[in-house]
């Protein structure tokens, strides 16, 4: 393929700088490594952090999958796929098991990741203490001294206010018993998948200029209290209206004709795969 751009859009120097930051991030699990976030052809806040990781890592033999909140076909996912595809010519897939590199916004796929895969997560706010401490110079000291009472305080306040922890997403985790990390706005449902993950998980925040990582087989523990243990969203009692799956993360939808609340898999490729296997078609139930 002939392209006006360098392979994977970036010049080689940029890729090398980002890769070096990635290596440092892997060496210090959960630690936010600053990097020189590049100008991208998409706006900051639209996945530039994840995209920079993807572009600096991708090789000619890679197979790319991009997810946006569980969906392979949403606008954001499609434009990122187009950009990477046009500047690299790599194969693009929707099947989780075929991909070597998976860039995702706010979900970890339902199908367990494999050792040779890399998951890249897009991060809007990488600092788990930002809500209690707006100053970066202070949060850095807090991380250095492993002073994480602020992160617990946020959860405590939620329990006081609502009787339970109410993080909808981005529930903070301790990585390798050291750094507290924002896992990006994945639902709590996905937090346990990070613990001793077979795949390497990289997180990139373009606007905040930070890269951090969870290396494979690393201990990841969600923050909680002794009498309020960490809990994932309760998905019991629901099943996907399309493929019939249970025990997965669902989208909650309103049926437009009957007004009833219905559930369907949030991970579209997982759902499609199940329908193909069982011969179900959309609408059949």
């Amino acid at each position: 393929m002939k392209s006006l751009y360098n392979f994977a859009f970036f010049d080689e120097g940029s890729k090398r700088e980002i890769r070096r930051s990635i290596l440092k991030a892997i060496a210090i699990p959960g630690y936010q490594v600053p990097f020189a976030s590049r100008e991208m052809p998409i706006a900051r806040g639209w996945g530039t952090g994840g995209l920079q990781l993807t572009l600096s890592l991708i090789g000619k033999d890679d197979v790319l999958k991009v997810i946006d909140q569980g969906a392979d076909e949403s606008v954001n996912a499609v434009s990122i796929k187009k950009l990477v595809g046009n500047t690299t010519g790599v194969a693009i897939t929707e099947k989780t098991e075929e991909a070597t590199l998976i860039q995702s916004r706010h979900r970890i796929p339902e199908r367990p990741l494999q050792e040779e895969q890399i998951l890249v997560l897009q991060v809007p706010i990488p600092e788990p203490l930002r809500f209690v401490e707006p100053r970066e110079e202070v949060t850095r000291v807090l991380h250095a001294e492993a002073e994480y009472s602020g992160a617990y305080l946020i959860l405590f306040e939620q329990i006081m206010r609502y009787g339970r922890v109410s993080t909808g997403a981005d529930h903070p985790v301790t990585v390798h018993d050291r750094y507290v990390m924002a896992p990006s706005p994945i639902p709590r449902f996905d937090n346990p998948k990070m613990d001793h993950s077979d795949a390497l998980i990289l997180l990139g925040a373009g606007r905040e200029k930070k890269i951090y990582a969870v290396p494979p087989y690393t201990r990841v523990v969600s923050l909680d209290f002794d009498d309020h243990p960490f809990q994932i969203e309760d998905v019991s009692g629901h099943s996907c209206r399309l493929c019939g799956a249970t025990g997965v993360y669902f989208d909650e939808l309103a049926d437009e004709t009957s007004g009833e609340t219905v559930y369907q898999c949030n991970d579209t490729s997982y759902c499609l795969d199940r329908m193909n296997r069982t011969g179900r078609t959309e609408g059949a139930s």
């Binding site: 209690v132 000291v141 250095a144 001294e145 492993a146 002073e147 009472s149 617990y152 305080l153 405590f156 306040e157 329990i159 006081m160 206010r161 209290f225 002794d226 009498d227 309020h228």
Partner: protein, 281 residues
Amino acid sequence: MNTTDPVVLRVDRLQKRYGDGCARCRGPNPDVLEKNYCPHCGTVYALQEVSFDLHQGEVLGIVGESGSGKSTILNCLYFDIEPTSGAAFLLPHKNGRESIFAGSGQTRRSIRNNLLGKVYQNPIMGLKMKFSSVANIAEKMIAAGNRHVGRMEDRARTLLEHVTIPRFRMNEAPEHFSGGMQQRVQIAKALSNNPPILLLDEVTTGLDLSVQARVLDLVKQIQRELGISMLLVSHDLGVVRMLADRTVVMLNGQVVERGLTDQVLEDPQHPYTQELVYSLL
């Protein structure tokens, strides 16, 4: 207080300097200073080798005019600012053998969270205004390693009751409270881990008289019931007379007089103390 009571806090030649100093002002007992300011190099000596002891269960008053270095002492002891030189020894920290300023950031944090409580003059400094009062008190317990919501909540509610915050307002954020209530929440927070030493910085300044009286009563009661040692900074001699066993008088970053409170207030020796006592309305 009894002089045979053990010394829980010993402050030794504490110095805080803003600026590098010059040859003329850095020597011992420099006489070039105008008050605490060196006119040659512009250095400000906020604290000039201040030393004192605080005994178990004692309330030590620190009085002096604005800018005399009273709050700077407390800020140094609570690690809010870094002293230029000097040492401070806390009996519960390594049995008082190592200066608290020698510790790493983590050690300092642990001293601050386990051994000290501080009430700031301005509640904004001591409280998270947008978090509930209960959470504010829990913050110090969380920092000290507590991870049990139920127990922390019980303790916070007991303390808030102790400082007479109405039960139905405990889940409210201090930003909705009056100044007196905020001050009382701060006191409850400072007490949360049963610290052996409490640092009080102008606790009653800016409060109306009836609220002042209530806060003072509370402090007195806490001191009597829990036997906590306190450093009480105030420029209100009435407050000091009521609460402090001993008093040190500060001027231009130096201690100019010290002694039993009655003695200092009834028979002041230093000209500044005399002026201070006689200007009492």
